[in-house]
């Protein structure tokens, strides 16, 4: 894929992420899906563009708010929707759900239900790449909340002293569930912490797909060259609540409206049109196709079988 094709693909995946989550949100609001989910609507540029800047063979660790991330990495939407609906055809045979979408072969080492749970896994995966000299790198997604977990400190420090090929990619959406960043840490920019580990750190506008793409691309080159990890802080915002049961009492409607004006999809579309990478018609077609593909995924998931009860005890051990 050349750069232009990548941009088009990126726009496609961002639309898929948006449509996927709008559909999931609809299901949850009506109680049509069991369990819970954490939506990343508003954060699509961050999740998708960062993955698109990697090589297809690179690896990621994803988070509980990971739909945009794993769609960005490249995923079969049918199998993903099936997993959310708990079906046997899902990525995890219906045993993982929204918080555990994984596709090890394709380099997605798994979303994680534990805040900060992916830090160590990413570092270990990066160690494998270094020991086996594969030339692959690992991008570790986490949020502003996870930056306060002890695992963050241990993992970044270890990756730094061992010069492991990891990009620590912080999606700072300014809230750890209900607690605003201004209250949960005493610094404005998480990237400041990079200095404490002796690694480079960069801030990027997480709602600007092109900026995210370029910054991760640059970081990937650095990391791949064996110089050690990089911390990127991608400032973005989730439009919806933390999870399905969130009434948004901790933030104002005005704040949400302000951020909606910075919609990453609209912004990227404007860029693609201005740069004449897409025409209005082509952009419309991509958006329409994304919605259709999500409908198809829903149909696939609905028509898929439930996992047989007999599979309950399978796959605990290898």
């Amino acid at each position: 894929m050349d750069e232009k094709e990548k941009m088009v693909e990126m726009y496609k995946r961002m639309n898929e992420a948006r449509s996927f989550e709008e559909k999931v949100s609809f299901f949850f609001a009506r109680g049509m899906v069991h369990g819970t989910t954490h939506l990343s609507v508003g954060e699509e540029a961050s999740g998708v563009a960062s993955c698109m800047a990697l090589e297809a063979y690179d690896l990621i660790t994803s988070t509980h708010r990971g739909h945009s991330q794993v769609i960005g990495k490249g995923i079969d939407l049918n199998k993903m929707m099936a997993e959310l609906l708990g079906k046997a055809t899902g990525y995890c045979k219906g045993k993982g759900g929204s918080m555990h979408i994984a596709d090890i072969k394709a380099g997605n080492l798994g979303a994680n239900g534990v805040v900060g749970g992916g830090h160590g896994i990413a570092v270990g995966a990066a160690l494998t790449q270094k020991l086996k000299k594969t030339g692959k790198i690992v991008l570790c997604f986490f949020g502003d909340g996870a930056a306060n977990e002890g695992s963050f400190h241990e993992a970044v420090n270890l990756a730094s002293i061992w010069r492991l090929p990891v990009i620590f990619f912080c999606e700072n959406n300014f809230y750890g569930m209900s607690m605003p960043l201004s209250k949960h840490m005493n610094i404005k920019d998480i990237v400041k912490r990079a200095e404490a580990y002796g690694i480079p750190g960069y801030i990027v506008d997480g709602n600007d797909a092109v900026a995210v793409y370029r910054k991760v691309k640059e970081a990937a080159e650095y990391v791949r060259s064996g110089k050690g990890p990089v911390l990127i802080e991608s400032k973005t915002y989730r439009w919806l609540g933390h999870s399905k049961s969130d009434a948004n009492v901790y933030r104002t409607k005005e704040e949400i409206v302000e951020w909606k004006k910075k919609c990453p999809l609209k912004r990227f579309r404007a860029y693609l049109l201005k740069e004449e990478i897409l025409t209005e018609e082509e952009a419309d077609a991509i958006e329409r196709k994304a919605k259709e593909d999500i409908e198809k995924a829903v149909e696939y998931a609905n028509n898929s079988p439930e996992p047989p009860i007999g599979t309950l005890l399978e796959d605990v051990y290898a």
Binding site: L59, T61, G90, Y91, C92, K93, G94, K95, G96, H100, A102, D103, I104, K105, L109, G110, N112, G113, V114, G116, G117, H119, G120, I121, A122, V123, G124, A125, A126, L127, T128, Q129, L131, K132, G150, S151, E154, A155, N157, L158, I161, W162, E314, D315, V316, Y317, A318
Partner: protein, 326 residues
Amino acid sequence: MREITYAEAIREAMSEEMRRDENVFLMGEDVGLYGGAFGVTVGMFEEFGEERVRDTPISEAVIAGAAAGAAVTGMRPVAEIMFMDFTTIAMDSLVNQAAKMRYMFGGKAKVPMVLRCPAGSGTGAAAQHSQSLEAWFCHVPGLKVVAPSTPADAKGLLKSAIRDDNPVIFVEQKLLYRKKGIVPEEEFIIPLGKADIKRKGTDVTIITYGRMAESVLSAAADMEQEGISIEVIDPRTLVPLDRETIIESVIKTGRAVVVHEAVKTGGYGGEIVSAISESEAFDYLDAPVLRIAGKDVPIPYNPELEKAAVPSVAEIKEAVRKVMNR
């Protein structure tokens, strides 16, 4: 037959596996040049180099987490947690990550890692460096738990653990590190999930593992003089547990005592007792099954208090007499 120590046996197992398979590597605090807090890895840094014998910072969460990440991407890490007590800091990596990845990803992950955990009391290190926490890990589906009592078992089981495709918690006994035992010079492995009858007997079955096996065998030898014949079974692996060997023995003897160093409440002994009472062996019991275990206290510093906190040979004998006199 040659004799080597428990620590040497563990070192041999790791060295042989590292020579056999380049994906095996070590990581942990001071495991490199220093040779490990208990000297288990002495000389390995020199043979295998710093890439494969990796000193880590004092960061237990990421030692276990990185082991899981390396394992799921194709390596076979053997990580050391300096004292089993410090697995508390690594718990998320072990319980929520390593143990769950395979199941929650629908069987598409393999996590072939070993976490070596020096455990147990008797070193005067008090409450935070002396615990036997194996029961916690037995309570987590997805983990295997191994607790060898002899140098030969330690070697054969560790080699199996390294070759196993699952996360294995390998409970080593600090007080056994310097104890010698016969270990064959030729290569051998001991499969996980297979108990060993450490002594044949007909009157009472004692099920024990780890450091207590020595005390139980000593009690059994003494009681032979009193005319009581004790069969000693060491399951060696707690998960998976070889229930058959235990049940068969109890059917034969009709009496059972379970002995471990870990505290009694919530200890693995309860699981072994249940395995007996849920089986056909229940119908053959002539006495209640007793548990002789550590007292429900943190391990104290004073040497006499410390000794009193874990089962003694005298207590084991008393329990045997109790089940015999019913």
